[in-house]
């Protein structure tokens, strides 16, 4: 329970008053209240105001889903033993990876919720390739996302099918690649620490509540970093990029893939944004829909915080490339935009 290991400690036992994070928090809150008027004045620039609104929007949109994720994570830690998990999954990773992809369809979570769940699965002994496949599949191929895509692209059923195929292929290919080349030491040590098996009924609920709470505190901070990045980019990235691309298909694919990473839209809504970019052909917009739920600034921040930086710098770029390739292949195979 000694989460204050890195707290500044007062030197000797002679001092009666120790400065801990509680006191720091009180001072910060006091300063914020006193400086409120100055704060508001600084923010009274149109661009910053827009950025602040987007920041709050990203945070409060994602936080309830993160809560869902940490509750599932807590439930796995408390009620699903490592043995049960092993029995549930096929022994061979080559088979278990597609199973995890299909499990993603059944569990409609948003990308923020999937991160703590995947981490807990790994900590409880599931193969990391399986957990990462779930991480990529759950936000991208669930029914809510597919229905939203169908609504946003009326008369383009190939778009829905291609999104499903491209996202599923991304998740499964990444799982297989990870099973073959991934290394456990890329994960931060704290990400993999397994919680002790709870002893009895009451103790299970304690593990549940404490795991969920600690995961929420951990991941929440990184979600905020992701929200800040998304808000800044939302204001700074000129949308003329999209119009300038016009009909150049290769350039369009690259620009839309980069936009998907920078804008960090939630997978439930990105189809509507893609639909509104009517100046572009359909294939680049499909790439936008497949890349977005798999890798974006908010997710990279969450993954770096949850699994460690060494993991994120390898996983995110690789996912980016695989997702573009899968989206283009799925689009061509299903005749999107023809």
């Amino acid at each position: 329970m000694s989460t204050e290991v890195r707290e500044p400690q007062a030197p000797g036992p002679t001092r009666r008053f120790r400065i801990t994070s509680v006191e720091v928090l009180c001072v910060v809150l006091l300063l914020a209240l006193v400086g409120q008027a100055a704060f508001v004045r600084i923010l009274d620039v149109p661009a910053i105001r827009t950025g602040a609104t987007v920041f709050v929007a990203v945070c409060i949109q994602a936080l309830p889903f993160l809560v869902v994720g940490v509750l599932i994570s807590g439930a796995i830690a408390a009620f699903v033993s490592a043995d049960a998990l092993r029995r549930l999954l096929p022994r061979r990773a080559a088979l278990a990876v597609p199973v995890a992809g299909v499990a993603g369809v059944a569990l409609p979570t948003c990308e923020c919720a999937a991160v703590p769940v995947a981490r807990r699965l790994i900590a409880q002994g599931a193969p990391s390739a399986v957990a990462l496949t779930f991480l990529l599949a759950a936000p991208a191929v669930n029914p809510i996302v597919l229905v939203a895509t169908a609504v946003a692209f009326p008369g383009e059923p190939a778009m829905v099918a291609a999104r499903f195929l491209g996202s599923m292929a991304t998740a499964v290919v990444m799982g297989w690649l990870w099973a073959r080349f991934g290394k456990a030491q890329w994960f931060a040590e704290h990400a993999l620490r397994r919680l002790p098996e709870p002893a009895g009924g009451r103790s299970r609920w304690r593990v549940f509540a404490e795991t969920a709470r600690a995961d929420l505190v951990d991941a929440g901070g990184f979600l905020v970093i992701g929200g800040l990045a998304a808000a800044a980019l939302n204001v700074l990235v000129p949308r003329e990029w999209v119009n300038a691309v016009g009909d150049q298909i290769v350039l369009g694919i690259l620009v839309m893939a980069v936009l998907a990473v920078l804008l960090a839209l939630c997978s439930e809504a990105d189809a509507f944004v893609a639909a509104s970019l009517s100046a572009l052909p359909l294939l680049p917009r499909l790439v936008f829909l497949v890349v977005g739920p798999a890798v974006d600034v908010k997710l990279i921040s969450l993954q770096a915080g949850t699994f460690g930086r060494a993991f994120a710098v390898r996983f995110a770029p690789l996912t980016f490339v695989v997702a573009i390739a899968c989206a283009v292949l799925a689009g061509i195979a299903l005749g999107v935009g023809r």
Partner: protein, 232 residues
């Protein structure tokens, strides 16, 4: 960071979610159906923090798993301050000028369902623009309709604009209608909410102007900002 501090931060954050959900300010940031999610999420946060505050530290097994530093948790203060101290406004003319105009996809081959009968019936800005750009049935031609939106002054022209969101304000995209022959609109400041009775200028939404329709306004009335500033 001490466990108590983490719990206070969670209480504040959960409280922030509950506050915007109950006061209605959440509509500036997310779509209406998100309200119950915010309430549930905020309540769970508050509950987890309270359970942890009430329980005596060290009495359970669950604590050993989290011995790494959680300095990142300080960042949770940012959304708390943003909600309680700043309460950023809904997106408006700045976003419109930043991102031009967008119209829902269409192929120019279909005829839309006819508009319901009646004089100056209310139509959403998004639907107005979509019909203006794509409807082969010309359902807007010669029809006066009522649009609600905010004023954007850009390049000597006055626009009535509205933002649409699919999920949250991060994915907002604007739709605008140029108001022709509307001297009273030219005198209004950016972000003034208006209700305008307009008639489409046929053929004004073209590919070279990003399908931004033009309309002549017969009456413009300044109104207070609606509770939900976005279209969905």
């Amino acid at each position: 960071m001490r466990r108590e501090t983490q719990n206070i931060l969670l209480l504040l954050l959960g409280g922030a979610l509950l506050k915007i959900a109950f006061t209605g300010t959440y509509l500036r940031y997310v779509k209406p159906s998100h309200q119950w999610l915010l309430i549930a999420g905020g309540a769970v946060m508050v509950l987890l923090a309270l359970v942890s505050l009430v329980r005596r530290p060290g009495s359970g097994h669950g604590d050993e798993g989290h011995q790494h530093s959680s300095r990142g948790a300080w960042l949770l203060l940012l959304p708390v301050f943003a909600v309680f101290l700043v309460a950023p406004p809904a997106l408006g003319s700045d976003s419109v000028q930043r991102s031009g105009s967008a119209v829902a996809a269409g192929d120019g081959m279909e005829a839309f369902a006819p508009l319901p009968p009646g004089d100056a019936i209310p139509v959403s800005v998004g639907e107005f623009a979509a019909r203006a750009a794509w409807d082969t049935g010309d359902s807007l031609t010669g029809r006066a309709v009522t649009l609600t939106g905010f004023v954007v002054q850009d390049g000597g022209a006055s626009y009535l604009a509205r933002l649409s969101i699919g999920c949250c304000a991060a994915d907002a995209f604007p739709t605008k209608v140029r108001l022709d022959d509307a001297p009273e609109a030219a005198g209004l400041r950016d972000d003034t909410w208006i209700e305008a009775v307009v008639t489409l200028v046929p053929g004004s939404a073209r590919r070279d102007n990003d399908y931004t329709p033009a309309a002549t306004a017969t009456s413009i009335r300044v109104i207070p900002a609606p509770e939900d500033p976005y279209e969905h």
